[in-house]
């Protein structure tokens, strides 16, 4: 909001800050009224002065140009060439002298026009960047304009404008008088409140316009007064200047006065044309559903019912406190006015304005809370100024529905508490002085607090400070006025045992560090995503269920999404990571490993149990009928491309899915999870499962830990790659974090070490393509018994003398006993046993 220091000067003395406003701005900011910007509009008009045309001639070489001699109050007259034709000898004009810089960075210099020198420019309104009514030709000033005076001073532009950012609790500062009061209390300067004077005669208002307030709960005060026989027209200069200085456009004298009073006193007003009020009636009542209403700016809105309206005998004429109606408003032909000054409950105005998307200065102030005690003064002030600028006869008596006048209750505040909560000493004297400066009534409470009789006070805040109603509110006021810089630093001692982090956090942190340790970069995506993109990636989400990560087929929608690309909460992390892959790929990052650890969202209808959740019962909100939302943490990995490496060139051809699998195994190992297996779709419990649409059916497996599926790893389906023109292989994995971290941290039990030699034995089996190498490995482990320390796959060979559908897989066993050196016979026996058992179980041959 804009505040003019020159205007402010009417209510509190700030003249000493006009040249140097920064200290005042700092003072206000330090007191919580943030001055975001300081403007000096007059500076734009340096070297622009009032001039008088002494002589007007034709340019010797150009018919359309005039050659003028202009007195600019510098003794010698200036020769200026002008292209306009509306000026006459003797006219007062606005002259931009050489050195002036007009809006649009238009620099004025001495120049030659068709061979004749011109020392400046006669300005039009648009060249000055001002709206002065007519814009045809150059500006002709009134006869009384003093020659040589700076134009800025003449127009009242020698001003300082503060741009304020006012917090929602300080509605009282949304006016010049309001800010003057604040400055008055901060600088201990007296404040002048306007005392309007006007003459009133004729019939009382109630006889001319009958006023009825049906909803006193929403409109605690409604006042108004009729002014008859006004002449609507342009406002005088002083009024126009005031409004322009704070960024408002002048409209006509009546509307301008209502706006002026709002900016002066913070009370929004509205003027109705009495002739347009059917039945000469004003009724404050709620709207009916489906009623139509056309606003001042010609927008037709359909009312929802329950909006507080100002109505006449037949129809709504204003959306109370928000905006007036088109038909009942003041026009050029209006003669009799009904000026409304009212107090509406903030919530009702805010709700109406927001539900219809209307933002007005009036709605802004009402919804932040106006002062009901200001209603009368504002109405009087409007009558005074309308009479002054538009004439008319102010009705003898005004109407004022104010059934329950505001009564501010005293609040008990103990000065000892003030000192204690601020951390520094505040004396009772200082406490009283500060609050009195802020307009509070402060009285000692002798009876109620016998232990500290001189420290307890009953404080009553002024009507305009609705935000002060608890003891702590007054404590903040003291701190604010004294300055927050006085608050010392004290380090609160820890005198109890701290609690541990919540387990979910510790688990997620540990897991994220393990994944990063495997070479993955952590991604952070939004919690919401495009439903279209997500569906396009995931396909049929039902298929994911047996894979240990349930993905909701109906994502939680956002009622008011920012745009269609962020319309639902995510159900799976992979669509987001896939988007990140495309971004990277398109920026020529041909190799990458990403992971994300975050929540996915789902909802379901509530059950009786849900209402027993602690906290939910405490809230007053009705939880019935709502859906119940849940969030579960997931870990997703995505990798693409391989790096060509110097020492192992074949690694460049390794399918990325093996990298992901091996990294997940490393993580499992670090989590001390040893009982797990990778199952293909057809191997899964029951009759097997279907592969999710986005995975390659031949390159995907579920991770089953201790008998429970908790996620999957796989290559992306080639169709997805083709759709996005990706030429590298992409592998993904998503795991359920809660399941994965179940029982963590698992304890470590160190195994004793054998003192006897270890022996390696290699076995090669010929496997049909349909048999997985892992199954054979499993059998080897089972057959080898207690002396097997480890078994792993060291080679896979195809071709040669093998049949088309055969692979030779080599396994290396590490054998070692804790009791003895393994004898050759024993080793031979063991090897034979392994071979026989594998052959028997899986029908494969040793190579």
């Amino acid at each position: 909001m804009k505040i003019s220091l020159k205007w402010l000067q009417d209510y509190v003395d700030v003249a000493d800050f006009l040249d140097q406003p920064e200290p005042l701005a700092e003072k206000l900011t330090a007191a919580g009224i943030e001055v975001e910007g300081i403007e000096r509009p007059g500076q734009a008009f340096a070297q622009v002065v009032v001039g008088k045309i002494l002589l007007k001639d034709r340019h010797p070489d150009a018919d359309k140009l005039t050659l003028c001699q202009v007195d600019v109050g510098q003794g010698e007259s200036q020769q200026i060439i002008c292209g306009a034709s509306n000026h006459q000898q003797g006219d007062k004009v606005v002259v931009a002298l050489p050195g002036a810089v007009l809006p649009g960075d238009f620099k004025i210099k001495v120049s030659k026009i068709r061979g004749v020198e011109s020392r400046g420019m006669l300005c039009s309104a648009s060249e000055l960047g001002l709206d002065l009514g007519s814009s045809e030709g150059i500006v002709i000033l009134p006869e009384e304009a003093p020659v040589g005076e700076a134009f800025a001073q003449y127009r009242g532009l020698e001003d300082v404008i503060f741009e304020l950012s006012v917090t929602p609790n300080r509605a009282d500062c949304l006016s010049h008088l309001g800010l003057a009061r604040e400055i008055g209390s901060l600088l201990e300067r007296p404040v002048r409140v306007p005392s309007p004077e006007f003459t009133a005669k004729g019939a009382p208002t109630q006889e001319l316009v009958s006023v009825e307030v049906k909803n006193s709960d929403l409109c605690p005060r409604y006042a108004g007064r009729v002014i008859r026989g006004v002449k609507v027209g342009p406002s005088p200069d002083w009024l126009r200047q005031r409004l322009e200085s704070v960024g408002l456009n002048p409209i006509n004298n009546v509307v301008d006065v209502t706006n002026f009073v709002m900016m002066e006193l913070g009370q929004p007003l509205h003027a109705f044309d009495v002739a347009k009020l059917r039945d000469q009636k004003i009724l404050v009542a709620e709207s009916l559903p489906g009623e139509l209403f056309i606003t001042l700016d010609k927008t037709e809105i359909s009312l929802k019912g329950g909006e507080l309206m100002i109505r006449d005998g037949e129809r709504p004429v204003a959306l109370a406190g928000v905006v007036g109606g088109l038909e009942s408003g003041v026009s050029e032909t209006t003669q009799d006015l009904f000026v409304e000054s009212a107090h509406f409950v903030p919530e009702t105005v805010r709700k109406t304005a927001r539900s219809h998307g209307i933002e007005t200065d009036s709605a802004y102030r009402f919804s932040r809370g106006t002062d009901p005690e200001m209603v009368k003064l504002a109405l009087d002030r409007a009558c005074e100024l309308i009479q002054k600028t538009a004439g008319g006869e102010v009705a003898e008596v005004y109407v004022d529905h104010y059934p329950d006048p505001l009564l501010r209750k005293p609040v008990a505040v103990n000065v000892a508490d003030v000192s204690e909560r601020l951390g520094y000493e505040v004396s009772a004297e200082e406490f009283q002085a500060i609050l009195r400066r802020l307009g509070c009534r402060v009285e000692p409470m002798l009876e109620s607090s016998k232990d500290q009789p001189d420290k307890a006070f009953a404080v009553v805040a002024p009507a305009y400070r609705w935000d002060l109603f608890q003891a702590v509110d007054f404590i903040e006021e003291v701190a604010r006025v004294k300055g927050y810089d006085l608050i010392p630093e004290h380090f609160p001692p820890l005198h109890y045992h701290p609690s541990p982090h919540v387990q979910d956090y510790s688990h997620q942190e540990r897991l994220a560090n393990l994944v990063a340790g495997q070479g993955y970069y952590q991604a952070v995506n939004y919690g919401f995503i495009s439903s279209k993109w997500s569906e396009g990636f995931l396909g049929n989400t039902e298929l994911l269920k047996p894979w240990g990560v349930e993905v909701s087929s109906a994502p939680v929608p956002i009622q008011n999404p920012l745009n269609a690309d962020l319309d639902v909460m995510r159900v799976c992390l992979l669509p987001g990571l896939f988007k990140n892959l495309l971004h990277n790929y398109r920026h020529s990052v041909g190799y990458g490993r990403l992971f994300e650890l975050g929540s996915v969202f789902s909802s379901r209808p509530p059950e009786a149990e849900d209402r027993k959740v602690p906290g939910q019962a405490t809230g007053p909100g009705p939880f019935a009928g709502d859906r119940v939302y849940s969030e579960s943490p997931r870990l997703a990995l995505l990798g693409w491309g391989q790096v060509t490496q110097l020492w192992s060139s074949s690694a460049a051809n390794r399918p990325v899915v093996y990298d992901l699998k091996s990294h997940i195994e490393a993580i499992l190992s670090q989590l001390r999870i040893t009982q797990y297996q990778w199952l293909r779709a057809e191997e899964m419990e029951g009759k097997g499962a279907e592969v999710p649409d986005f995975l390659h059916p031949g390159q995907s497996a579920a991770l089953v830990v201790e008998g429970r599926a908790l996620g999957f790893v796989g290559s992306l389906h080639p169709l997805l790659l083709e759709r996005e023109k990706l030429r590298s292989s992409v592998a993904v994995a998503e795991l359920d974090v809660a399941q994965l971290m179940r029982g963590q941290p698992r304890s470590l039990k160190v195994k004793s070490l054998s003192r006897f030699p270890a022996v390696e034995r290699d076995l090669t089996f010929v496997l049909p393509q349909s048999l997985s190498a892992g199954q054979v490995l499993g059998e080897i482990k089972k057959a080898a018994g207690v002396n097997l320390q480890s078994a792993r796959i060291v080679d896979v060979f195809t071709g040669g003398d093998l049949k088309e559908d055969q692979r030779a897989v080599s396994y290396r066993m590490l054998l070692q006993s804790h009791q003895e050196t393994l004898s050759e016979e024993l080793l031979q026996g063991l090897q034979t046993k392994v071979i026989e058992q594998v052959k028997r179980k899986l029908a494969v041959e040793v190579r």
């Binding site: 608890q470 608050i487 630093e489 004290h490 991604a523 990403l594 405490t618 909100g621």
Partner: protein, 343 residues
Amino acid sequence: MLKEQVERLKRVEEEATEAFVEALSSRQLYEAKVKFLGKQGAFAELMKLMGRLSAEEKPQFGKEVNLSKQRLEGRYQEAELKLKKQEMEERLARESLDLTLPGPEPLGGARHPLSLVINEVVEILAKIGYSVRLGPQIEGDWFNFEALNIPPDHPSRDLQDTFYIDSNHVLRTHTSPVQIHTLLNEKPPLRVLAPGSVFRCDSDVSHSPNFHQIEGMLLDKKVSMADLKGTLAFFIKELFGSSLKVRFRPSFFPFTEPSAEFDCSCPICKGKGCRMCKNSGWVEIGGCGLINPKVLMHAGVDPKQWQGFAFGFGIERMAIIKYGVEDIRLFNENDIRFLRQFE
């Protein structure tokens, strides 16, 4: 006879010496050793001739042979040492590697800068007894607003543009509702921290619709603004590693009273004025204040018995200050070229 034998001995010794000196490798040297000093070597042959000597000559000759053998042993060792040294030098020269060639590609991998900031903040405050709590991102309207003293249609709702899920649920606009969950579930005294993802429906070059905050809360018998300032001063000092000043400015948050914004002297220019602090010497960090008694009451805590303070700030902003990130979009694009810098 003795003289003749001694002459032979001398010749053998000379030959052996020559063979030792001229051996080109340890292998050749060893072969020479076997040839002269081995069981069937030249010396053994000489000893066989001993029988031809007289009884007086035998010990004399024996002595000569032993002396000769000792000399040869010495020469052998000398030659061996020299050869070993030479051979080691050759090996070292042969085995020299170009260490500018790369080893296996480093794994890489890193936490996201926002996680790094959260971790650092948690670590600092954990030292003084704070522990982490989490809350839901789809939050009940009551938790996100009303319990925090933001009634429906109240002007203070203007402070936060809200995404709605249904009439009773929103995407939380701040991490403050975690205060309420904690107060409802745990008993004071308390020191807790709530990092997390929050949502506001505005988006421009400096605002993301889904960003991160961290919230701290302390609840105890007596709590003052000075306790709050002291805690934040410690935090800032630990975070930026030098003695930066903390400044409070009055502000308004419905859930705290008194409320303040807290700034610290600019960690980049140490208060001299730079682009980060817009030449003011101060950077805005976050909001804080003493917990409004109304909030405590909403959460079933008696404000006559317990008092508290709370503070909170944006993680993105902290990352911008700490790492000089210039565009907030970088935090969510997940460009590896950006993420790699946080290894």
